[in-house]
Symmetry: C2
Subunit: 542 residues, 2 copies
């Protein structure tokens, strides 16, 4: 098989007309020819760091859309599903990815569970990590989020790091704002990448220590502009929602980088040869012996993708994707009984009291942090009543792993006037979380999620909509268009319900993450992150 | 332990005053300080490709001198000793290197024996290669010189390549002038470096295919000037003689590169982080977790080395090396009987003939190639007599591996008037080779080598000198100064004997290499490289 076009060479920063000879999916040779072509052939794009689960699509569904945009490889960390299902979840990702032409290079989750302050579905120990890292399709140890553990030489964590070293595989980092001596200790353990930099200065400090810097340009995090002139190595998405994925993948990030002034060859290397060399992938360049993963683009300004070839097979051409996913099913992972209205009631300590002062989670809009506040609420027949007027609503976390417990608290910032929203995507343990104006709506929303084996729900007095996420409560088996459309409609409904937040379900998903300040709720209760302990919901009654 | 100075950062191309905290030989952290220093601290230099045997020094002796010049790591291929002693030879190198502070990163010889047209001491099959490559101190498969074998999918050779892939270790290349489709096939097998480029164009063709380019600046090959503006990755020595090693190692190559206009940061990276990343070495940068291998230099013009630290220990300071080698002994490897004068006589086919026309090896001065010529020589009492007047001398190769055979022929170009020179360094099989004006001198020179367990000898009617190389017939156990001094004196003697060649022993060492054109002599006879067959010595008698 021969492919012709203007070939971009990532080793010499050249473009020349040539032909590529391919046999059995492998590039055999490249020959310069004296011919005129319009398209530029570049190596297939590789996303060096992504969590597929964030798209709410299965790997095979993710492939359907990412391939259209020229992405032929993703280094992906199945951290979310591992928290739900452990090794079985990781196996699901591998198996669902297996028949997709997009190459999923997995990393072995290093921090499951993420904390001990919430109940999750599974844990991965160093033996599990070893069983993954010895496989050829596992290319690295996933981001070591527990940097405190590294700094304190946590024995089990260091074992996982040592396993990666044993198999000669890179160790990914995640240490936002870590600096100085503590950062140096983190790096000393061999952790070699960082995608959490939020400033040039942070990136430069980490680069000086030899870390490879990933510029994150995802759905919520947009770092390209800040980082454009800072030494860096990769452009990654990390977390990309389905509606953003429809707009583009690395292709539009390349366009943005070049728009911002980055040299187009440098930009392309950040999503081709750089990740290929770092993770030891047999792709990322148009050279003999590499996989024939090729993308035809119109030019180095627009990065419009005209054709995509993987392993020598054309997968996308003339605006048509030639691959259709057939996602694997998965048994329900929600081991939880249907809830009753009264499960969501918050009882006063003394039923005769008339009011109660409670701790309140104050949302800081469009961030994942919260502030600790309080409110004085009415007690009616022994039940503490939320105040819609003052935007003090109820929030509950329902343990979904068989414990059947529920914890209730109060939250301010969601602004819902009459209804509830709920989700089974709740970092990092993915219990069910629900915010609502009363217990009836909250029970109804929760039970819809249980019925759907997971998902998102919005219910108001006027309308209701649900997105089923039956794959581990994290992913749909539907194609991207359906998922994106329902997601968008859900956001519109929540906005009409009075919520001022930009991404209400995203904000909701972080309200149970007890490693980000200040006050959070897990299935085990109200957690003060700064104090690193659970606290009482009610501070005073009268 | 704290080290202070102006620290050169290979990740950001910066130099800043700082202090390096070291524990147990590992860099823990780096801190910028507000202090004035004169010296620049750079990572210890790494030679990405060298054959220690070429220095005629054992690894420990090589370390004594290379460390003074700031070289703290050498990626080295024990190809020569493997041809003599096989795995036992490789083990010798490992063991002799073991206590030297210089880090020897070994590569597993891929092409032993080099050809079937001469007798060597051992062969390394794919099982031997695997037993080496599974070790941590073996970092790559050695240069795959048999590029014809690669192109023709030689089964055993491909097995060796597959072993390297299995252990995730790079495969070094050696394919001088290979081009076009054949080169692409070579690269397709995963061979990733080239140190044989002799022109910009050759380097660019190979670079385009993704090969990493080693600029070779050794004793015989000087490519820095030619390659200065060509994309390349490493500066290497390959083969360095002891007298050159005394002058400098990578330090003087850096100086030359910068003199020629190379950016000093780029030059330094070519001997630090680039080899470290390619061969996965835990050094090459001043960053947390890496070996504290540090070199203090005066500036980025002279690269004068003031202090050398390896694993946190000062090895060289104030012009004083703080390490003394204690080379391991080795049993004789010369399994050959003392020779008699008549063994070197070339008999006419018919003792009554008066003259014979013979094929003659014509040396092309200061290259390793020869031309095929002929000469008419006198036959005296049945023996063909060399013609000193016409510079047609005798050359013999004595099999040293127990076969006790000898092959005799004629050579022109050595210009010796009265005497003989002999050597047990004879690429690639290292039999004994001798050139002389008569059989008496040749027998005497050969027997001196046998007595010395190997070495170099020059004998004339006026003087004689020998350099014993008892370690596999390739290396001395003496320090560099002694070896270099005797080598220089030997060359001076040979010059006084009438020889016009710049490096007579080097030229001599290639006269038995039957893979380089045009006419060579091995222990099995006279070999026509272009015809790929042995030919008769005598073409005609009368």
């Amino acid at each position: 098989m021969i492919i012709r076009g203007n070939i971009l060479n990532v080793f010499t920063d050249e473009i020349y007309p040539g032909e590529i000879k391919i046999e059995q999916g492998i590039i055999q040779s490249i020959k310069e020819v004296d011919q005129y072509f319009t398209d530029i052939i570049v190596p297939g794009f590789i996303d060096a760091h992504a969590h597929i689960e964030s798209s709410m699509l299965t790997p095979s569904r993710y492939a359907e859309i990412a391939l259209k945009h020229g992405t032929t490889g993703v280094v992906c960390d199945p951290h979310e599903i591992a928290n739900v299902l452990g090794m079985e979840g990781v196996e699901y990702m591998i198996n669902d990815a297996k028949y997709a032409p997009l190459k999923f290079f997995f990393t072995a989750p290093s921090c499951v569970p993420a904390t001990q302050f919430e109940t999750n579905g599974a844990s991965l120990d160093s033996f599990d990590v070893e069983s993954l890292l010895k496989r050829d399709d596992f290319v690295a140890l996933s981001e070591v989020m527990d940097y405190i553990g590294v700094i304190n030489d946590d024995e089990e964590l260091i074992k996982k790091i040592d396993v990666a070293k044993k198999y000669n595989k890179p160790i990914d980092g995640h240490a936002p704002l870590l600096t100085g001596e503590e950062l140096q200790k983190y790096v000393m353990h061999g952790i070699s990448t960082e995608h959490e930099c939020s400033s040039k200065a942070e990136a430069l400090e980490k680069k000086r220590l030899g870390m490879k810097i990933m510029i994150r340009e995802g759905s919520e995090s947009h770092m390209l502009e800040e980082m454009i002139n800072t030494p860096s190595d990769f452009i990654v998405t990390d977390d990309l929602k389905s509606d953003d994925l429809i707009q583009g993948h690395l292709n539009i990030r390349l366009r943005k980088a070049v728009d911002l002034g980055m040299d187009p060859f440098d930009a392309i290397k950040m999503v081709t040869i750089n990740p290929a060399e770092h993770y030891n992938l047999n792709c990322g360049s148009i050279s003999p012996g590499k996989s024939a993963d090729l993308v035809f683009i119109d030019n180095l300004d627009d990065f419009k993708v005209n054709r995509v070839i993987v392993n020598g097979n054309t997968i996308f051409k003339k605006q048509k994707i030639l691959y259709r996913a057939n996602p694997l099913p998965l048994e329900t992972t929600l081991h939880v009984d249907f809830k009753k209205t009264e499960d969501f009631d918050v009882k006063a300590q003394n039923p005769n009291h008339k009011s109660a002062v409670v701790n309140v989670i104050n949302v800081v809009p469009n961030t994942i942090i919260t502030k600790k506040g309080n409110a004085k609420l009415t007690v009616d027949k022994g039940t503490i009543i939320p105040s819609v007027f003052e935007d003090v609503l109820k929030i509950s976390v329902i343990e979904r792993y068989g414990g059947n417990t529920i914890s209730n608290a109060f939250i301010s910032g969601f602004g819902i006037k009459n209804g509830a929203i709920a989700s089974s995507v709740t970092h990092d343990s993915h219990n069910i979380i629900v915010v609502g104006t009363n217990s009836e709506y909250m029970a109804e929303a929760t039970n819809k999620i249980i019925k759907n084996k997971g998902g998102l729900v919005a219910i108001s007095n006027k309308e209701e909509l649900e997105l089923a996420l039956p794959i581990a409560g994290l992913m749909s088996d539907k194609p991207v268009n359906e998922v994106a459309k329902t997601s968008t409609q859900l956001n519109e409904i929540v906005e009409r319900m009075g919520c001022p937040l930009e991404s209400p379900f995203s904000t909701l998903s972080f309200m149970a993450l007890p490693v980000v300040p200040e006050l959070k709720i897990t299935d085990k209760g109200l957690f003060d992150v700064n104090e690193n302990k659970f606290i009482d919901l009610i501070t005073h009654e009268e």
